[in-house]
Symmetry: C2
Subunit: 406 residues, 2 copies
Amino acid sequence: MSLIVQKFGGSSVANAERLYNAASRVIETYRQGNSVVVVVSAQGDTTDELIEKAREINPNPSKREMDMLLSTGEQISIALLAMAIEKEGYPVISLTGYQAGITSDSNYGNAKIKNIDTERVFRELDRKNIVVVAGFQAWNKFEDITTLGRGGSDTTAVALAAALKADLCEIYTDVDGVYTADPRIVKNASKLPDISYDEMLELASLGAIVLHNRSVEMAKKYNVNLVVRSSFTRDPGTIVKEVGSVEKMLVRGVTRDSNIARVAVIGLEDKPGVAFKLFSLLAKENINVDLIIQSIGRDDTKDISFTIAKSNLDKTLEILNKNLDFVGAKEVKYSDKYSKVSVVGAGIMNNAGVAAKMFEALYEVGINIHMITTSEIKISVLVDIQDAEMAVNAVHEKFKLDQVRG
Amino acid sequence: MSLIVQKFGGSSVANAERLYNAASRVIETYRQGNSVVVVVSAQGDTTDELIEKAREINPNPSKREMDMLLSTGEQISIALLAMAIEKEGYPVISLTGYQAGITSDSNYGNAKIKNIDTERVFRELDRKNIVVVAGFQAWNKFEDITTLGRGGSDTTAVALAAALKADLCEIYTDVDGVYTADPRIVKNASKLPDISYDEMLELASLGAIVLHNRSVEMAKKYNVNLVVRSSFTRDPGTIVKEVGSVEKMLVRGVTRDSNIARVAVIGLEDKPGVAFKLFSLLAKENINVDLIIQSIGRDDTKDISFTIAKSNLDKTLEILNKNLDFVGAKEVKYSDKYSKVSVVGAGIMNNAGVAAKMFEALYEVGINIHMITTSEIKISVLVDIQDAEMAVNAVHEKFKLDQVRG
């Protein structure tokens, strides 16, 4: 008899049929004698519809009122899933984030969970209830509703699993696990049987949208047993766990991210503090910078290039052009015609051959590399956007990732 | 400087345009230097849509989960109205029933407010916030969400006005006050400038749907200054107040209610306890009985006739036919082809002429009366359903109700 947290995303509860399907998964686990806590997201496009409703009224509403509005999406889902479970005759109770004891800081729209008071959830489990908890939402010290931002329901599930000391946290989604590459791009991509927390983090940050980073970070921190699986198939999914226990395999996956822009700040003075000035300007505006490369310019100056999310390009250019003198730069160049292609795998950098092999794969298909960066467990290159799919396929094939047994 | 509670019904917040309109009413009151608490219902058909969503999943969901679901409708409204007010640059905060300190009993779907802890609302008013509160919803001792049943938002508004000791409670709706008869039936119906709580209660129970009885009862109990007015016109509306202060006028209004069925239980034994047995059977199933008439039958038996809501007819017949022996009756007859036409006015029954005048009006247009009942402030008759409109018009004219000055 175990305590299992199951999380169903928006597509897994989008309509009556899918709610029944989710309910049957929950009931099956419950009937096996387990205590079951279910976390659900808002149905399908509900959140987008609510955002649209708000925009119609006020293009710039306060974040507090947005959270008041958006949290209704998950509240609708928990009630409907509870009703679907009731219909099959099983004892169930739905709980809002507040009722489930989930408190957060007051960063409306992107709040961080601070604490979970498990008293109510345990009380309901003791009564043999299946407990359905609203994902994505919490409660702050002002007794106001907050939401947890993107991937918030995953975070709720993992945080609950950690607080309840659950034996397992199952993330049900519309894909059946974590793949060596996006199956829409690479036809023979393989499903990974397991992956380490760190690898999952890199994959997520590089464009694989299966699990949100915050939830993986939390799972790593509290050592939560995590499984990503499909709510529509019986596939065992992909287990996310400690690196030591993961199957030895150098490269775990190839990703691409085309939602990026490259900005180059040219002709910076070669003296201390330049990078600090530059990036603190962007940080102040909450613009996250990804790859950073600094190179020596021709005339005792240096250039700094970096990538940002495409949506931040206009703002970044505005800030930099306004502060050219302050930063001490000659000019700013940019392009949004690049994609970032990455390979991820624990220990990649301890194996000199991996980088060379990746570059070889790109060379063989004639793809030019514009930037390179590496970390302990990933290698990323910037290529022309129209080359990205070919690049992913070439690298995937080079590392024989189609031969992984899922 | 006054404290004013304003309530906007579902049609008054149904879309962006109407939300702006409601917001401008609120802001106007706030700019006059008043503290303003706003209570809102769910937008337009939201509640019906949520009920439909539930039915699709489970035709017989638990009432607790229905309340979890339905309460989202008002939560959406408060957030959107707050955003509309924010857009105009005024300080505002939305509060759920729980945040507004509204606690109720645990009769899910039809809960009664038990207490209002006004601390949070007063704190927000002290900060000069316009406070937007979700109607229809409360919180019980189990820390669960309840809803207050039909007319619940009116009840929230009046209860808040009472608890906050507000100077005025304005109910904004899609009609501009209380009329001497339904303007859709009687062309020259007049708007009443004022009406007593008791008269309003009778009118409401007789089919005038302007204000729900529970809210009027509460207004009477706590002596809340109540005004019913339109959110779409500048009309001053109808004031609901203590009987002593109401303009002297014998008959205040004429109503009809066609949503009724008459049931006759024939051949009951003429001994004590028969009526008790009969009506306790119905009470157990929550079937409300309206007019009751007992008459002597032909052969030492008696007949009891009563009216019920049409929607309860099938269930009532099932119960009675199953219990004919227990009740000691010969047979049950019924018809749903009647309407109830009533005149309402404080002191009607102390004026013998009123009843006679009503019957005269019906006689003059050749309408047959099937049942009559009277109370301190109303006279009701049962007529054929197809005669009801003519009956209302005839009575309205007889009492010269078109000459009331609104």
